[in-house]
Amino acid sequence: MDLSYGEELEGYRDEVAKFLNASWPLKGDEAKLGWEEQAVRFRERAIEGGFLCRNIPKQYGGSEQEPDVLKAQIIREEFGKAHAPMEPRGIGTMMLVPTLLERGSEWQKEKFVPATIRGDLAWCQGYSEPGSGSDLASLKTRGELVNGEWVINGQKIWTSGAQSADYMFILVRTEPEAPKHAGISYLLVDMKQPGIDVRPLRQMTGGADFCEVFLTDVKTPEDWIVGKRGEGWLVSRTTLKHERNSIGSTQQTRALFSGLVQLAKERNIDGKPAIQNADIRQRLAALEGYVKAHQYAGYRTLTKDAKGESPGTITMMNKIISTNIGHDIARLAIDLLGEDGLLDAGGSGMAAMMSGGHERWISHYMYSLGIAVAGGTANIQRNVIGERGLGLPRDAAAERSSK
């Protein structure tokens, strides 16, 4: 057991640091450019240096490096320290690009991958529908091939960034006669066309991080399909071997917990700092047990990934673990806030949660129930843990649905 990265990797860290030292922030005239433009220029150089877009072939604009989760982690750490831009955030880089690389046609890769990883193209995802939540495969949005074009009608929901996206990757039902999962296709759609109506979906916090998208006779060329007709379900499940960020969520959880401890120092109970209250101390220390367990589980997963070994059931549990911790942190925070819990969350979205004020804890209190974790999702995850993780038999209902 060795929590350092070892000599060779520390050498690599030096290399990354040296590159960053030379390259970010930009210098001279370039330093006067806007941040976005600076980021684009910097990313080009970082890709050239092999630091970004490591799993993407050079022909599509990537740096095509050997997968190495430890190097990837070191890059994240050093880029984070230097506040240097990583790959463009968002669902295009995270979900569409890997899918295209695995399942897209040659022209699709050429047209979309380089522009997306440069940050020139923004994407949104059209999966969920109002009637299709945890049972995604029951989606109803229709796509019909008419005169060499797909014509799409329906409604999508929980679409993040739909207002500003250039394109959407969307699941639509193209084979209405086929069984549930087999009737779905995966299309790419230009968002800048008539028939697309994007409406922000306001959350209980007051902000709007998601949209509803109404599609009325929306058109896309016949060959803007990824995979074959009726293969959309499989295509949407494509995941490339990639450099999983095993400890990202544990770092977020730790940061949230630190904020909570800080809050307990600032708030009073009975005229004394809350952190001196025996009950609050117990609750904080009990929570820290979960936070630390999550942290070291992340280290172990990182190590297993680096060795190419399976980390086991823990990878199915991470989401529910961080959800549980988030719930507990939120509950304790609202207790610490006391009367300030009467105040509005600030009418804003996730941004408020990231801010420094106490109202961020009200936002967090509500976000701990957010759509990513709400409702069926947690129960579906418990099904997965029970069935795939522990080997328990499948539900009758789920069996029926998978037919």
């Binding site: 969920s128 109002p130 009637g131 299709s132 939540g133 945890s134 049972d135 029951s138 929901i157 929980w158 979906l201 306001r202 959350q203 209980m204 007051g206 009073n268 109970i269 009975d270 005229g271 009950d279 719930h327 609202i334 207790d335 806030l337 006391g338 009367e339 819990g341 009467l342 105040l343 509005d344 969350a345 600030g346 009418g347 009200i362 509500m366 129930l369 957010g370 759509i371 709400a374 409702g375 069926g376 999702t377 947690a378 129960n379 418990r382 539900d395 209902a397 789920a398 029926r400 649905s401």
Partner: protein, 358 residues
Amino acid sequence: MNFDLSEEQEMLQETVRQFLDNECPATTLREIFDGEVGFDPALWKGMAEMGLAGLHLPEEYGGAGLEVLDLALVSETLGYMAAPGPFLGHALAGLAIACGGSDAQKSKWLPKLATGDALATVALAEEGGAWLPDQWSVPAGASLSGSKKHVIFADHADLIVVGTAGGGLALVERDAKGLEIKPIDSADRTRRLCEVILADTPAEALPDGEVAATRLRDAALVLLAADAFGGATRLVEMSVEYAKTREQFGVTIGHFQALKHQLANMAVEIEPSRGLYWYAAHALDHVRDEAERTAAIAKAHITDRYMQIARDAVEAHGGIGFTWECDVQIWFKRAMFDRAFLGNPALHRERAATMAGW
């Protein structure tokens, strides 16, 4: 042994509920909730005309002469319906004057409060969560200076009952000199809050203010508990209803045992506590030596259940439960109000422990 409501009490709840069904249906509730002001004079006038404004005030002053239990039953129904408006502050202010006011004060204010011609509220909290009479620090006197937080609909009130140092109460009128009222962005948009700033503002103390203040406190705890019981009960119903209609995997989601048990657990958490708030309310008029402690336990217990059930209800509704459009959020924010107003459960549990001699 008759631990149950009278027919009159059941009818009172039914009447209030029908009134709100008619006068504040979902669309109206939503308009008020989303609106700038949050106060609907017509709705409040209608409630006052039903007699809700003076339910508990002495008959000689035009009230109905009922008990705290009856107030609490109305509170449960308002919580169930998430009714927006100034009922809580108004009821408490009237209770304080009836209990601690001079004859002159009673004669001047109670008839107007009973009819709803004047609206009153209570200003209790001070900076740092100082909700309780023994924590108040605004010096008593013929004029008051200081600041009070979280005053319900102070911006619409004709009269504010202000808590003062030493645990007394004083009356401040709407147009009094130096009185400044600042609306606060409130989470619960059905019971909006203001900060009240007093700068050498003329005030008139209640002669029996200390007694009235503790009764006000205990009644407030009970009314919050009752509101929480009503709201939580409604959220369970809404969640069950959703589970019966929402389909996934070819069946309504209420078929899934995991969700079914979550809903059963929600019901098990709230249903038994009906009698707890009843008894706490009853005790305030009839079992004085248990009243203070039972009120503290009822508020802590039921508002805690409400808040957790509100969280569970969001989960039971899936993604849609997290949206502004979904009515669950209205009750969720009322739960936050009921739990935080007058102090978190931990505060009242500690008080209950101390009162038990632990």
